[in-house]
């Protein structure tokens, strides 16, 4: 019954998306077809509504433990708490694709609604592209990844979802962020395709493109770091990033999206790099599909990937089609996006942007090459090999440090060509901060050359970033004679985009510095302790008090009670544990972390014996790790600051510009 309802909803969504894609393209080809645009919109809303209903149907089945629905039989269980049943929607392959459809429906509906009255020549094409992508995911749900297949003899109870989901809340919130980042890239992709199809990328059309790109970028940034945080809190090896194929899959579109956000600024300000920006946006979407394939095909050797199924080949067909479509579209249409302005040569912000873009693309290429390379070698040499962390660290550290440098130098340079005197006054003061931070690093014991370089550039960039954040405030104070607070309020209210962008930069500087310090300055110890014994590391004394069993409804755990003293003072307790879930053979470790601003004390269990009262522990001191999480939140916040008012400001600006003519770009056509 529920299974049939779900299948019907999916089929209708497939129908709506396919029809909407066709109507959208037909309308785009005949500008001014009002009825066609109305129908395109209706079908887009219908697709979204059907996806919402299909997801609600699945939630209903999960909550009522309707094991006649195949997905519920696969991941449901009567013994798990209700919240686990709810989030089981995205705990396994088929459900995650259904959830993907939900996110996609919401994005398509919001983007269509928001731009229902603007950009009439672009929007039908854009909605057509979104719905074509939506049609593919509906097809996937209707066939290879059917979550609503009927189960002939429903079991009385199911096995429950992947225990990793129940083990830590971060695994619950990570997928929605990741999908919001991934799926959101469909919107700028559709807008970029529309610009190519129309043959124009105007001053005002770059704004919706940039806004949706930025929104998805915020989600993706948070998702990547949540993934790292989860790995840190759960996997027990003390790190947050292992260059695993699935981690790389989320990082690749982030890199190209970051590049595109910057080159879009040049499109907006100077009318240059239109074809390049479009290419980056399209590449970002293609990399999200590649990432989807990587996580769902079983071809890549990864701990995180779902198991193999018919879904892999289907996604590969779509990926190949999307890749070929994009190359053909760019080949035929990229030259129609003619530049309006020129790039400055010589030392200028323009050049910094170009080099920044080059480095981000190089970074993307390197990570993609390293991730795919074992497959190349298997195909060419017939040998199984690995490309792991030593490779990625080696390649990414210089690129990352260079990007940090550019993040400081770029904003310090003027948009136009800079004179010698100007360069000196812009670049010299930050050098003082660079030197101070480097000296501080040396005093605190940093000896690694790359870390010191990261600190030097970090100091430089932080100086420039704070300077740029405060520049409008100082200007207002001078021009309007306002007090510092009032000037700040006014300046950030009026120049929020710029303000938000520098907040993102400030966060990024801290993330890079924290990564550099935490990966080179930690210390560790492996110990085997009997009851009452202590271990010492870097000023901490850890006493193993006892081992105990804990029973909870859905799991049984063994934990070690560790008393912590820091420099002789009491510093609380830590309880690293091993969780044993029903229906699962292997226990899942759960390290205990004492988070601090300067450093984390990280304790994970190797082995534990309650009866004998012994425990084997891995103890780590990880400096500055929590700054990665804090600074990422700052980055996301900066992104939001940039996003929310700019949407309103841009619309207002476009209206005023259209009515006042001289700066009119799209309005006069």
């Amino acid at each position: 019954m529920i299974a049939t309802l779900g299948r019907t909803l999916i089929l209708l969504a497939l129908l709506a998306a396919s029809a909407g894609a066709l109507v959208g393209f037909a309308t785009g080809a005949r500008p001014g077809a009002v009825a066609g645009w109305r129908w395109t919109r209706r079908l887009a809303y219908a697709f979204a509504a059907l996806m919402v209903l299909a997801n609600l149907t699945m939630e209903y089945a999960l909550l009522t433990h309707d094991f006649s629905v195949s997905y519920v039989a696969h991941v449901g269980s009567r013994s798990v708490p209700t919240w686990v049943s709810i989030v089981s929607l995205w705990s396994s392959l088929e459900g995650s694709i259904l959830f993907w459809g939900l996110v996609m429906g919401i994005y398509v509906a919001v983007a269509t609604f928001r731009h229902r009255d603007d950009h009439p020549e672009y929007m039908p094409y854009a909605v057509g592209v979104w719905l074509a992508c939506g049609a593919f995911f509906s097809f996937l749900l209707a066939g290879p990844a059917q979550p609503f297949a009927a189960v002939a003899n429903p079991p009385v109870d199911g096995p429950g979802p992947n225990p990793l989901l129940q083990n830590h809340y971060l695994m619950v919130i990570h997928p929605p962020f990741l999908y919001s980042g991934y799926v959101g890239m469909t919107i700028p992709f559709g807008l970029a395709c529309a610009a190519l199809l129309v043959g124009r990328l105007g001053h005002d059309f770059i704004r919706p493109l940039r806004n949706f790109l930025l929104l998805s970028w915020i989600f993706l940034t948070v998702a990547i770091v949540l993934g790292g945080w989860w790995a840190y809190e759960v996997l027990g090896w003390g790190g947050y990033w292992a260059w695993d194929p699935v981690e790389n899959a989320s990082f690749l579109p982030w890199l190209t999206a970051t590049a595109a956000l910057h080159s879009a600024l040049l499109v907006e300000r100077k009318g240059v790099l239109k074809g390049w920006t479009t290419t980056l946006v399209i590449a970002t979407y293609l990399l999200t599909i590649l990432g989807t394939f990587m996580t769902r095909s079983g071809v890549f050797n990864s701990v995180h990937s779902f198991t193999q199924s018919a879904i892999g080949p289907t996604i590969l067909v779509f990926l190949a089609a999307a890749l070929i479509f994009s190359v053909v579209l760019l080949t035929l249409r990229v030259d129609t996006l003619s530049a309006e302005g020129r790039l400055e040569t010589g030392a200028s912000r323009d050049i910094a942007f170009l080099v920044q873009n080059l480095l981000f693309v190089l970074f993307t290429f390197t990570v993609l090459l390293g991730t795919v390379f074992p497959l190349v070698v298997e195909a060419v040499r017939g040998v199984q090999m690995s490309v792991g962390r030593p490779y990625f660290d080696r390649m990414s550290v210089p690129i990352g440090v260079a990007l940090l440098f550019l993040m400081g130098v770029g904003p310090a340079l003027p948009w136009g060509r800079a004179g010698r005197e100007q360069l000196r006054s812009a670049l010299l003061p930050p050098v003082v901060s660079a030197a101070l931070l480097t000296i501080l690093g040396v005093v605190l014991g940093v000896r690694n050359a790359w870390t010191l370089l990261a600190l030097a550039f970090g100091g430089f960039t932080a100086h420039v970033t704070v300077g740029e954040l405060l520049l409008p405030v100082r200007q207002r104070m001078r021009a309007h004679g306002e007090g510092a607070l009032e000037a700040f309020r006014q300046a950030q209210g009026r120049g929020r985009r710029r303000f938000g962008a520098y907040i993102v930069h400030a966060g990024a500087v801290v993330v890079i510095a924290a990564v550099a310090v935490s990966s080179t300055m930690g210390s560790s110890k492996e110990v085997q302790l009997a009851r009452g014994e202590t271990a010492t590391i870097g000023g901490y004394t850890l006493t193993f008090v006892n081992a105990e069993r804990i029973r909870e409804p859905h799991r049984e755990s063994v934990r070690a009670r560790m008393e912590i003293r820091k420099n002789g003072h009491e510093a609380g307790w830590l309880y690293p544990r091993m969780n044993q879930y029903e229906n699962q053979r292997e226990p899942i470790g759960s390290p205990a972390v004492r988070t601090g601003l300067a450093e984390d004390l990280y304790v994970s269990i190797h082995n534990i014996d309650v009866e004998a009262g012994s425990v084997g522990l891995l103890i780590l001191i990880n400096p500055m790790v929590c700054w990665i999480w804090i600074a990422t939140a700052v980055m996301a916040l900066g992104g939001l600051v940039t996003l929310i008012p700019s949407a309103r400001g841009a619309a207002a600006a476009a209206r005023v510009e259209a009515s006042t003519a001289p700066l009119s770009i799209e309005g006069s056509s």
Binding site: Q308, L319, V372, I665
Partner: protein, 190 residues
Amino acid sequence: MPTAASSEAAPPRSSRINKRVLVAGAAIVLPLIAVLVANLGRDPHMVRSPLVGRPAPPFSLQPVGGGAPVRLESFRGKPLVINFWATWCVPCFEEHPALTAAARGLPDVQFLGVVYEDEEARTQAFLKERSSAYPSVMDPDGRTAIAYGVFGVPETFFIDAEGRIVEKFVGPLQRSTIAELVARARGGRP
């Protein structure tokens, strides 16, 4: 006086093929698709052993329950089947009867169990509970497992009379598979 002229107002230039984009796009996209297609259906977790066709790594290990060390060289002259297993491994119990039956039915073939990351007492209890037709040895610190390139248990190596590894099998064995692989070990290299 500013003018309202804008390059955007000009009609879009007609479509023409950008050959550079085509070449660059094809150079990235086609090999990528080819590589992904070529690897589709391959399980990257099944890593082929480079030891197949090479001499088996030597070892000298204590039997479960004590006794003189068991050495690889002492099995020269007849085919040898080395099974890496543990009591905590479910597929290992599943294949245990098949291995026991094969050891009884093939007296000219030597079977040997190597216990992987397990305690001797638990292993002894396990073997006492079930009948076993061949010896098992302890592998402290997993050194022999590492020398044989073991990824997990169960994994089984089929070695010919000259001490050369003929085949490596990953996962629980069926009786018929054992017979087939032993036949290959008897005939030297397949």
